[in-house]
């Protein structure tokens, strides 16, 4: 069994309450950090752990913390990004629902490390049930002296608040999130200055994902060096993977980074294979924004070596033959799924969620949706495929925030790997309305398991 650092006690009844969470060793990290460590020592431990941001970008958390400006007399803020909206990703919702205190504990330790006395957890507005769960957990922690004035008699004060969003994917981008937290539209800011210098209310601010903050707890408990022993290369520790799509057992899994992709999809410990005895056609390994890969490239590199679930291994081969770990939103497509239809669906999503600030993204996402709609519905021409390529290329890298790239990559990768399926839609407009292109040459290299017949035993 793989080591579990975040979800170890997920099945313990009552783990959402302070009493049970403490019984299972909870809030040890707060005691240790506030009573025996200095803020600098905590930052050092997080640096040593090699923890990389779990929201998608994968930037080293300890380094992000060390960039925080510390001018005299100016408050600093820690803001937790719980605006989980990336299609395919639902790990933070899961963690907050079942073990809210893991996040609260991480927030206390991290806020202390950064010298913040007021911290916010920005939760997407649709997660009202999770907001209530967190607010209850905060009340419990406050009543136990773990939040508020003079925490555990150490003289450290921290107020922690939960802020609801209003339903906008863009607010997962950290500067848009800060705008939203200030009560404005979620338009990303031009950087620099980065939030570490001028963030919330113009003050130095760190924005971290829920899972990154929760991971600080085991790092402080066991030490950064212990954490770094788990995983592979620069992908240290464990990662929550949200598995969805045509899988036998979709859900949230905690893996040790470096697990072979094949084992993750097919072993009974994780997803248990493809649902309904079908074969795998393609995957999106890290949330809708990362490039889609055909089954053969998902499981193996172009040179035939097995691909692993880690930041480096998933991006092996660049965008030509690789993808990204992203937020760990793992979507599996079986042989009956239509790549054109899915790409259209994702394009509609990005068009809907574009904040409208930058022309390439505002206009480009709309055009991509329109062209894909046309091809999917049997009215496309070969030139449309080239036009689509042209549009996505003009969005990528030409916007203030990464939403433009995120909208372009799924389209680019779908054309790159599945061009024949797009062309089939153009050549067979009638047929494409009633049947699917099927598995074609993206064959899942793993043979279908033959059912063992009873009478043969």
């Amino acid at each position: 069994m793989a080591r579990k650092l975040l979800l170890e006690h997920i099945n313990v009844p009552g783990i959402n309450t302070l009493a049970v969470y403490r019984e299972k060793g909870g809030y040890r990290a707060v005691e240790k950090a506030l009573k025996t460590l200095t803020p600098e020592e905590i930052v050092e431990e997080v640096k040593k752990s090699g923890l990389r941001g779990r929201g998608g970008a994968g930037f080293p958390t300890g380094m992000k913390w060390s960039f925080l400006a510390k001018p005299e007399g100016v408050p600093r803020y820690l803001v937790c990004n719980a605006d989980e909206s990336e299609p395919g990703t639902f790990k933070d919702r899961y963690l907050m629902t079942h073990i809210p205190h893991a996040l609260i504990e991480g927030m206390i330790v991290s806020s202390f490390a950064l010298g913040a006395n007021t911290s916010y957890i920005y939760v997407r507005g649709e997660m009202m049930p999770q907001i209530r769960i967190l607010e209850r957990a905060i009340e419990e922690a406050k009543a136990a002296g773990l939040l508020g004035k003079n925490i555990l008699g150490t003289g450290y004060d921290l107020e922690l608040y939960v802020q609801p969003g209003g339903g906008a994917y863009i607010c997962g981008e950290e500067t848009a999130l800060l705008e939203s937290l200030e009560g404005k539209r979620g338009n990303p800011r031009i950087k620099p200055p980065f939030p570490a210098i001028a963030g919330l209310y113009g003050c130095p601010t760190v924005v971290n994902n829920v899972e990154s903050i929760a991971a600080v707890v085991p790092i402080i408990n066991d030490g950064g060096d212990e954490y770094a022993k788990i995983g592979i290369g620069r992908s240290t520790g464990t990662k929550l993977i949200s598995a969805s799509g045509n899988l036998v057992k979709p859900g949230v899994y905690e893996i040790e980074l470096g697990l072979p992709v094949e084992e993750f999809i097919y072993s009974d410990e994780y997803c248990g294979g493809i649902a309904n005895g079908k074969r795998l056609k393609a995957t999106v390994a890290g949330g809708s924004s990362v490039p889609i890969l055909p089954a053969n490239l998902t499981l193996k590199y172009a040179n035939g070596e097995p691909r692993l679930m880690s930041y480096e291994s998933l991006s092996e081969g660049g965008f030509a033959t690789g993808t990204m770990l992203g937020s760990g939103g793992f979507i599996a497509f079986d042989e009956d799924q239509c790549i054109v239809r899915n790409t259209w669906n994702f394009s509609r999503f990005y068009h809907h969620e574009s904040c409208g600030q930058c022309s390439p993204c505002r206009e480009g996402t709309g055009w991509m949706e329109k062209i894909l709609h046309k091809i999917e519905h049997g009215h496309g021409s070969m030139e449309d495929i080239d036009l689509l390529w042209d549009v996505q290329r003009k969005i990528e890298g030409n916007t203030i925030c990464p939403l433009g790239d995120a909208a372009a990559w799924p389209v680019a990768s779908a054309i790159r790997h599945f061009r024949d399926e797009f062309e089939w839609h153009v050549k067979e407009p009638m047929k494409s309305q009633s049947t699917n292109y099927g598995l074609a040459n993206y064959a899942n290299p793993i043979e279908k398991k033959e059912e063992v017949k009873q009478e043969n035993l």
């Binding site: 299609p87 649709e126 049930p129 939203s180 009560g183 969805s244 979507i331």
Partner: protein
């Protein structure tokens, strides 16, 4: 058809205003505008939507211009700028949910309720619409119903029928 005059004035109850006062304390002095999103959620939970008079009152309470409230309410998808049914069924329509049948659920809802996306049923009880990813991809298809935003997961046509029948009886 449900009809509400756009100009119909609203009164905020003292209970609602007490909640406002509580929220505004979360932010540093002078940064009360930060309370805007949570306040609009409270207004919508109370009145079912965010009307212009209600938004004006929120602006007055926060000591900001009305336009600062309108631009926010129109940016975020959760705020309704028109009255809706008492129960707004919001079905996730994004990729992963579509892989497991979200489109069928929306077709079924349209048939079952007899209204198109965004419209309100005769009795004023129901509206439905497709929304973007609700972060429950592994449990799809999913829908949510405000203002509590209760989630209903792993939907089937039967479970949707059951849900609507239960809500009708309430």
């Amino acid at each position: 058809m449900l009809k509400v005059e756009e100009t119909q004035p609203v009164e905020f109850s003292s209970a609602l205003l007490a909640k406002f006062d509580e929220i505004i304390k979360r932010y540093p002095e002078g940064k009360q505008k930060s309370a805007l999103l949570p306040l609009l959620h409270l207004v919508q939970a109370e009145f079912g939507w965010t009307s212009v008079p209600a938004m004006d009152k929120v602006a007055e309470y926060l000591n900001i211009q009305p336009i600062e409230v309108y631009e926010v309410a129109s940016f975020y998808t959760m705020y309704f700028l028109q009255p809706k049914g008492k129960y707004v069924l919001e079905v996730c329509r994004t990729g992963p949910c579509c892989l497991v049948g979200a489109e069928k659920i929306m077709d079924h809802l349209e048939k079952k309720l007899g209204v198109k996306e965004g419209e309100v049923t005769e009795d004023g009880l129901f509206s439905w619409r497709g929304v973007e990813c609700l972060a429950a991809c592994g449990f799809g298809p999913v829908l949510q119903i405000g203002p509590a935003y209760t989630f209903y997961e792993n939907l089937t046509e039967q479970s949707v029928d059951q849900l609507i029948d239960d809500l009708r009886k309430k």
